[in-house]
Symmetry: D2
Subunit: 283 residues, 4 copies
């Protein structure tokens, strides 16, 4: 489709929009849509997402990268990434026994709703194997391995390293080590089954029932070493009442979980999400 | 209007609905609507709200009370309250410097949306005095009195005791003592400016901004001695983005606060809310 | 589970709740939850849903039916249905080429979220055949047959008549004749891809884009002879913006469609929905 | 605050973002946020909103206007408006007997939530006069004048022409002539008490009750000569049930009306809304 996305972030200073649009313009690219945000008008950080169209993008790309490197990379200290909308992200999904988040992602991928391919699904149980394979996607069983999870993590790194651009935890229910996150080297998105920071940790639906809340929620976030503390990409809630049991909350929560995770993954694959410390900018 | 509301709760056992409907029927009352809930089919607690119509309710009421006392009060160990829909609840509002929750309640009261009268507004500052008086409602200034709040609390009890059926804290921003709650002897509803149990305590909007949440909320709850732990009546949220500052969150949160508090007070005044330990049943 | 649901509706008159609860009580049934509604306090219609528990329901049922027939059937002119919560509804799904509503229902059925079995899926195209069969559910292809649809309808009636309690149109895209509705003899639920009564008829997403609406929706309703005019069971909406194309609206609308249809079918199968002329009562 | 907003729209062509950011940059302005939209990548229309900061805006403005006129006005055929964020819009509000939308706007204006001043409120009844004056805002009574509304319209034009930047119909309930719209020469925003295009015309809540919808809504739109057909700025809905009467719908709808109108007016006053034929672009 000859469309690309350019993400730029760094210290704000005058003239950045002009510099970026000039670099695109000089390489024959026409801006299709542009979102820009500065988190503080004085001395803040600059974020920009630009979707552009250019004839024969593959051929033009090296020159464009050179222009951008000249303009953005040096004195200005900006970070930038360039992507091609015709190239879907390669996404591995890690699951456990629950199927709702996993199947929703696979089904949306099949419908063409998410700009991704799924080269592999890994789970620490085999419950979802048949469903995954019915989508024509390979399934690999990597048991968690009890207390010492390093062997399991090493196996996963071996399978995924260099092969994927994103890892999605679709109710994987295992805590990943800092070591793993470092080695895998790509972003990891998790779905937490509560409206964070409410009900951090295990058993959020039971806790929600005990506290008598009137809404339950789900949170998709990038995984960091601090459990349930990573930058939030998306959240949503659903109304519950006194007549809902803890099992009802879990059932209704499952709908929010899969919707929230699907939106987070979709946006990430569209290069709409940029990290800003503990926050995200979602264009 | 000759309509009444009967609330009954207690230990569940067979035949309760029949016993209650018989008592009403025998006194010439026709059930207009009925909601019943048992929180556990085996050995749970029973909750019922019945709206009924009866000709000349004022005249019939003593006989009805006697029937109910016979049926429900003794062996069954049930608790019940009977009210008259033509008699609005008497509600005192406690405020501080913010006007949004207070004015919204007064507007709705004037429009006839909430079945209440407001005999008095008390605040620990005088900012809202003129607005309150423009509604023809008395305003009394009771300064908080620094560290020792007992004098202020005693003054409020003196003003309200016996004169009101409900106290509403419309962003009152003062913590009430257990002593006060006991002496005032009527329910107290508070609006907390976060989606509890997230961001308990002070400064929730600042904390929400720092955590980078994508939704902010508000919670109306009955006040108990445990701060921010009382039974939740109503909650709601609104979507925010990275471009919202902490001040934006506060502004958008104010809209949710006033909406949530108005719903909680409306439902309480319609006798729709029953406490069940740390939870509420809202019919 | 020995739980049953009793639905009663008809002309309102004093004593109905008492009569129904007495009939249940006399047959040893304990009321678990009860919802009652009268659409007009004077001369209105009466609606009641009662969930009850009774030991050995199957054995007690004939006597209970006799009691109810005596109490409700004759003089009072009420209509009532009795069901057993341990017996799922038998639901046939009619589809066309779209899979989103169909698969969501089948997933939920497999997860145990909807109290139904699906003995058969019929479609006028074969696109969804493999997916349906992967759930172990029979698929039958009944082509629409051009202008004269009577042969196709006759074939569907032949397959379903007497075998199902409900027919669900999961984006079936064919208009069913009054004749068909009469012969099939069970309720038919349809999902319309707009927030009715906005955008009645074909192409609602295109029309929504042209009109520049900021929310799009979906509507689940019982099918009647008047197209898009049947009693509404459930509706919901999702926010859209100027940057969404008509194709985006269709994609986002698909999420609302499947959620709304799933809720409507779930509630119908829980005996929560009662018709009241052009409206529904949903308890 | 030395911040300005530049809105540009017109035929899309390569290099527009660069040209605009250059013009700003050359005049010492730093871009604070930028939103850009093209409604069709091939031959579509271009929309851009740029918020910029420049030292001593008042002094720089003439030079900036000249640069923009050179760049945008001529060959490119673009339309642009420049505004100063420190100058609030002057907004007249037209009301009738309902106070909910009117008071909400005045209260938000007083809180500093909407970047507007309200030099005048006009109503065709006197019910709201005291409330308006309690905000220190002049109230003028202009009776509608029966069948021939031209005298009333002439009086309103006389009062407002040249004095305001926007007219808001806060449940004004009178249809304005095309003549009036032309003479007044500024945008007019109306709040319609339904989710357009459902329930066009009078009595939407009654119609909604008769149709048995499960959500009711409100729509804020620019007024054009075609009644209820103007470009939609904002819409929202609220859930209702079978137990809500038409009066309940009206009451609950009032909450949506005031929220939707407040958002539309706030966005307009922030220069966030651009017309695109029958649609709006809301940045």
């Amino acid at each position: 489709s000859d469309e690309g996305v350019l993400l730029v972030h760094g210290e704000d200073r005058p003239g950045l929009v002009r510099a970026i649009s000039s670099a695109l313009s000089e390489n024959g690219a026409n801006i299709v849509s542009l979102d820009q945000h500065t988190d503080d008008p004085e001395g803040g950080r600059f974020f920009q997402r630009t979707v552009f169209h250019v004839n024969d993008y593959a051929a033009v790309r090296p020159a464009l990268e050179e222009s951008l490197a000249k303009l953005l990379g040096k004195g200005l200290g900006l970070t930038w990434t360039l992507s091609d909308r015709s190239v879907p992200k390669r996404v591995a999904i890690l699951a456990s026994t629950s199927d709702h988040c996993l199947l929703d992602l696979l089904w949306r991928q099949r419908r063409g709703e998410i700009a991704m391919t799924v080269p592999l699904v890994i789970a620490n149980h085999t419950d979802v194997a048949d469903d995954v394979r019915s989508f024509g996607i390979p399934f690999v069983h990597v048991p968690s391995g009890g207390v010492d999870k390093s062997a399991a993590e090493a196996r996963i790194v071996e399978l995924l390293k260099g092969n994927v651009d994103l890892v999605v935890l679709a109710r994987y229910m295992q805590i990943l080590s800092g070591d793993f996150l470092e080695q895998i080297g790509v972003p990891v998105i998790n779905i937490h089954h509560s409206f964070l920071p409410a009900f951090i940790g295990a058993g959020p639906y039971r806790k929600a029932k005990e506290r008598g809340v009137k809404l339950i929620g789900a949170t998709a976030h990038y995984v960091t070493q601090d459990l349930d503390e990573g930058p939030i990409i998306e959240q949503d809630v659903v109304r519950v009442t006194h007549s809902d049991t803890a099992a009802d909350l879990q059932r209704r929560g499952a709908d929010v979980e899969r919707a929230v995770l699907a939106r987070a993954v979709t946006w990430h694959c569209q290069d709409r999400v940029m990290r800003n410390g503990r926050e995200t900018v979602v264009f």
